[in-house]
């Protein structure tokens, strides 16, 4: 026991609490090569490897699949086909049952898993796979958005969100314009490909080590495929080498194949995709066609907007329904629309089943809205920023019922975009630079510059309300060390670091005392994916609740012993103060253990307030919104279309940051990834549905030399979440991706300079050099 210090605790602050800019918890392991990913785990002796053989046809009946020669090949242990699956042949992440593990008589994209070869080495498995004889009967294939629209190839009935009389509003508007934009998809290109290791145990037990954002779903899928109860399957994820949404549902296939192989071969089996196969097997960001018809007045105020989203979903639902929904929920971005209708077509095509990708449909909805604003501004010869500001939702502190309701009938109560945009346009000198650029362009014949400021408002919560729940587990061992587990997964976003900070803060102990452990379904069950930017919001709250439970027990124990009320017990940095005495944390833990007080607790959290009536397209799908804005300046070469980001300034709202270093990393990284999607990452399929850009030599993601010459980034320092989130922070994973839209808008501005800003050129996503050059040529020829 330490003697009471009358003024308070012996230290003012714990080390590593909330709001400290701690480095990533695995940073030392990462820089020394000590961090283990699935393919780095030392495998048990006798571990086999599996190769997934894929369909060569976009749409065909498999008349005959003869794998006799495959079975006889050197090193092959067994060959798995649909007939070998003891449970259900379905790995779909939603109850749509349209994603077979292995194709059963029908293939629906080039790259679909057809059979799997289990061998001593994956090289042997791959060699053997080539010996299969597959007879296809080709069926008509639908590849593109336009083909699917024409064929009315819908996964489900078109879905509409509407508020107000759109036709009347547009008809009555003084001005109108309409247009179309094509928006390409995006390959995740996580540097660590999909990977899973299945280790069979006794009874029906199966242990899975994998690279997944959604361990619970891997558990459910593996149990379903093996035909066993979920309690037989334990899934562990220590970390991912990048996820970005691509490991939300796409990890089901390798895990289920490895588990099936392990069950049949009765040995551990590893399934690691090589890069080409990963491109061919897995879904990507959805590509869209957006058609729009907008009515507005002479000041650029939007009066009515009718938008059509045509969404290429691929061969199955996967997560397409909530993704396409979210695109609609962000079709307004930051702008109040007095009358709006968004109609969404979910198109079935014979291509990879598109899936979650950072932003989850939001970016596609938003980039189209920003394009509309730019066109309205160009039509009126107004500064696009001015048009943006005029149309913003009512400010949080200046409520205006008339300008606060979204097309899905939710009241926006926390809008601070005016403040962010005002501050950013000031610090980035938007007006001066815009004028300078226009002057510069008039004297530069070949190189043209462009600038744009675009805002982001991103809704936080899973739109499927039941997913907004999380669990955590904390043990305090008798030496005072803390073991922390929660349902979220670590993919580089620093989630574990943040949650450990939350727990350290709750107990008022140093961060170093908290050990973060691998996510496992055996410790925290029935979790949601680490997705929708919700990781820290949900798991932070759950972990804090677990900590509060233990603190309550400790307080009761100490209070009773000291003869005071539990309310008089305080957790001070590294110690517990009670009735004029102070005990070290270690002492309290040791004593509590001796006194038979439980030092382990679970915590649970369910997001309040959210409710969503999907059928009526009304409600409050989001707990709150995250805001941000970026100004980008670009230069284009009007003879080749080559372009460069010269400077980007970002101001982003993370509420009260849990960890400013990690949040800044997320913002920079999101921006880079968004700019990559919008400018250089291009997916091309041929008419047979074969993905041509299936390797890094043909699919280009941003490199070090592609980042802006100048990047100024600041967190919005007045940020505080209006809602009672974990320490009033805001989610940060996805919103910054859409800051990249400023680059796209700036490129369009640069092209517009060629025709002296008389019109805004048609420009699709991604704005590759080729597209930019074609846009320049189009407006030069009028």
């Amino acid at each position: 026991m330490i003697k009471m210090q009358k003024q308070g605790p012996n230290r003012a602050r714990i080390s590593g609490g909330v709001a400290e800019a701690l480095h990533h918890d695995s940073a030392v392991k990462h820089v020394t090569g000590g961090a283990l990913y699935v393919d780095d785990i030392a495998t048990p002796p006798g571990t086999l490897e599996v190769y997934i053989a894929m369909s060569a046809r976009a749409h065909a009946r498999v008349i005959r699949l003869n794998v006799d020669a495959v079975r006889a090949a050197p090193g092959v242990i067994c060959v798995l086909t649909a007939a070998d699956i003891p449970g259900g042949n379905d790995i779909s992440p939603t109850p749509t049952e349209d994603d077979p593990l292995l194709a059963d008589g029908l293939v629906q994209y080039v790259g679909q898993a057809l059979f799997a070869v289990v061998a001593v080495t994956v090289q042997q498995a791959r060699a053997a796979a080539k010996l299969a004889r597959v007879d296809y009967e080709e069926l008509p294939a639908i590849i593109t958005v336009n083909q699917a629209l024409a064929a009315r190839s819908y996964l489900e009935a078109p879905y509409v969100m509407q508020r107000g009389d759109v036709e009347a509003a547009i008809a009555a508007a003084p001005r109108r314009l309409s247009g179309r934009m094509e928006i390409g998809g995006q390959e995740h290109f996580y540097l660590e490909g999909q990977a899973a290791l299945a280790v069979p145990g006794e009874d029906d037990d199966m242990g899975i080590y994998c690279s997944s954002q959604h361990p619970s779903e891997i558990q459910h899928t593996v149990a379903h495929v093996l035909g066993v109860a979920r309690h037989a399957v334990t899934v562990e994820v220590r970390r991912m080498g990048g996820g970005f949404g691509g490991k939300e549902s796409q990890g089901n296939l390798p895990a289920a194949v490895a588990a099936l192989a392990a069950r049949i071969a009765r040995r551990p089996v590893k399934c690691v995709y090589d890069r080409d196969d990963d491109f061919l097997l897995t879904g990507k960001r959805h590509d869209f066609r957006v058609d729009y018809n907008v009515g507005f007045d002479d000041h650029g105020m939007i009066l009515g907007l009718d938008v059509m989203h045509a969404v290429r979903c691929g061969m199955s639902f996967d997560l397409s329904q909530p993704i396409a929904d979210r695109a609609m929920l962000h079709a307004d971005n930051c702008y109040y629309l007095p009358a709006a209708r968004i109609t969404s077509y979910r198109l079935k095509t014979h291509t990879q089943s598109n899936t979650a990708f950072r932003g989850f449909g939001g970016p596609q909805g938003m980039v189209a809205m920003e394009r509309i604003i730019d066109e309205v501004a160009a039509t009126l010869a107004l500064d696009p920023l001015e048009v943006r500001r005029r149309n913003f939702y009512a400010h949080r502190d200046r409520p205006d019922e008339a300008r606060a309701v979204t097309p899905f009938h939710m009241r926006v109560e926390d809008c601070i975009i005016d403040d962010i945009v005002a501050e950013l346009s000031e610090t980035a000198e938007y007006q001066r630079r815009r004028a300078d650029i226009r002057a510069w362009n008039s004297s530069s014949a070949i190189i043209k510059r462009g600038i744009a400021l675009t805002p982001v408002r991103f809704g936080i919560s899973f739109t499927k309300t039941f997913l907004n729940q999380a669990g955590a587990l904390i043990h305090i061992y008798s030496d005072g060390s803390i073991h922390l587990n929660h349902g979220g997964t670590e993919m580089g976003q620093g989630l574990n670091t943040k949650i450990a900070q939350v727990v350290a803060e709750a107990f008022q102990v140093d961060y170093a005392r908290v050990k973060i452990t691998a996510t496992t379904t055996g410790k925290v069950p029935n979790t949601s994916a680490t997705a929708a930017s919700s990781g820290a919001d949900l798991n932070g709250m759950a972990a804090r609740n677990a900590a509060e439970t233990i603190k309550g027990r400790l307080a009761s124990f100490v209070a009773e012993r000291e003869g005071v009320s539990a309310n008089d017990v305080q957790f001070w940095p590294g110690c517990v103060a009670v009735g004029g005495r102070v005990f070290t944390f270690d002492e309290v833990i040791k004593d509590a253990h001796m006194a038979r007080v439980s030092l382990s607790a679970t915590g649970f959290y369910a997001t309040p307030k959210v409710q969503w009536d999907r059928e009526a397209a009304r409600g409050r799908p989001f707990y709150y919104f995250a805001y941000g804005a970026a100004v980008s300046e670009v230069a284009i070469d009007t003879l080749t279309g080559e372009n460069r980001i010269l400077r980007t300034d970002i101001l982003h709202d993370v509420g009260r940051s849990l960890n400013p270093a990690i949040d800044k990393g997320q913002i920079e990284g999101g921006f880079v990834q968004g700019a990559g999607w919008l400018t250089m990452e291009e997916l091309v399929w041929d008419e047979k549905g074969r993905l041509l850009t299936h390797a890094p030599s043909t699919y280009k993601i941003p490199a070090c030399s592609d980042r802006p010459g100048i990047l100024n980034l600041a967190l919005y320092d007045r940020g505080v979440n209006s809602e009672d989130t974990i320490y009033r922070s805001k989610a940060v994973g996805e919103p910054p991706l859409m800051l990249g839209i400023s680059v796209f808008a700036a490129l369009a501005d640069a092209v517009a300079s060629v025709a002296d800003y008389q019109l805004l050129p048609q420009l699709d996503v991604p704005a590759t050099p080729e597209r930019i050059l074609m846009a320049v040529m189009r407006i030069q020829t009028g």
Binding site: M680, V684, L692, T698, K700, T768, E770, L773, M777
Partner: protein, 291 residues
């Protein structure tokens, strides 16, 4: 597959001649190993030539250069004499991939890979470089532009191996340059590459010119009409216009993916113009690099 690392040209030729399957030469391996990994190639024998000293050296003599076929882009960059005389060649060789790749990719490999988009090839053609070939019947020389006869097709016979490149001395009042363009989406590496070499006389009239294009046809092209337009002119706007138009006219792109054909033809003229300008600046003694 067997692996051999001979230490002489003769031994390498012998291995090539004796192999009954399909032997391949391994230099830097940056293209070959990708092709082996992705099943484009399945050689019976890999002959690693990095241990043959003659192939690793850059020799200067009588003002020109003899560059071993296994010299890497990074090694070219470290050679002050070559960098001063033929900056276009050095820059082209250092556009092959990232820094890690430049440390391995070789001039000989870039040519023998047989890709129409090979970056160093148009620069070598523009410079008037020749190739020394060793084979069972001794050695022979061919101009660089005659080596590649089609996509992945070379004018080499069984048992032949490229030993070195002979690059002439830099002409007085001469200059060379190489530029390329890569839209992010392209299936190949460069979409258009352009190499130019020029010589001026005392009053600034062009007395010698060569212009070569990469990635616009089934093999790199020497565009004679472009040279014709430049020789005898003072490289005025009109002459350059004609040369650029000749560059466009020479293009016969092999694919037409999403407007790329039109794009290549347009960009070829733009690049030709810009490359001529850099070569001209260098001929005038203006230094400075393009990258």
């Amino acid at each position: 597959m067997r692996y051999e690392a001979p230490e002489s040209v003769e031994k390498a030729c012998q291995l090539l001649a004796d192999d009954v399957g399909h032997a391949r030469i391994l230099a830097g391996g940056t293209d070959l190993l990708v092709q082996i990994k992705t099943d484009v190639l399945d050689p019976s024998l890999l002959i690693d030539i990095k241990k043959i000293q003659e192939l690793r050296e850059i020799n200067t003599g009588s003002g020109g250069f003899r560059i071993g076929a296994a010299v890497t882009g990074a090694e070219l960059k470290e050679h002050d004499g070559l960098r001063a005389a033929w900056p276009g060649i050095v820059e082209a060789a250092n556009l092959i991939g990232s820094t890690q790749v430049q440390g391995r990719a070789t001039l000989g490999g870039n040519l023998c890979n047989g890709s129409p988009a090979a970056d160093s090839v148009p620069a070598l053609i523009a410079a008037g470089a020749k190739v020394v070939i060793a084979g069972p019947n001794g050695r022979r020389e061919l101009p660089v532009e005659d080596i590649m006869v089609g996509v992945r097709k070379l004018a080499l016979t069984k048992g032949e191996l490229i030993v070195s490149f002979i690059v002439p001395p830099r002409p007085k009042q001469g200059g060379d340059a190489y530029l390329r363009f890569i839209p992010r989406t392209e299936m190949d590496i460069a979409v258009v590459g352009c190499g130019v070499s020029l010589q001026l006389d005392a009053d600034g009239t062009c007395t010698f010119a060569r212009l070569a294009l990469g990635a616009v046809a089934e093999r790199p092209l020497l565009v004679g009409d472009a040279a014709k337009a430049l020789i005898g002119s003072k490289l005025d706007a009109k002459a350059v216009d004609v040369a650029a138009a000749a560059a466009s006219a020479a293009c016969r792109p092999i694919d037409d993916k999403r407007g790329t054909k039109a794009f290549r033809i347009k960009v070829a003229a733009v690049l030709a113009r810009r490359t001529i300008q850099i070569a001209l600046d260098r001929a005038h003694g203006k230094t400075g690099t393009t990258h």
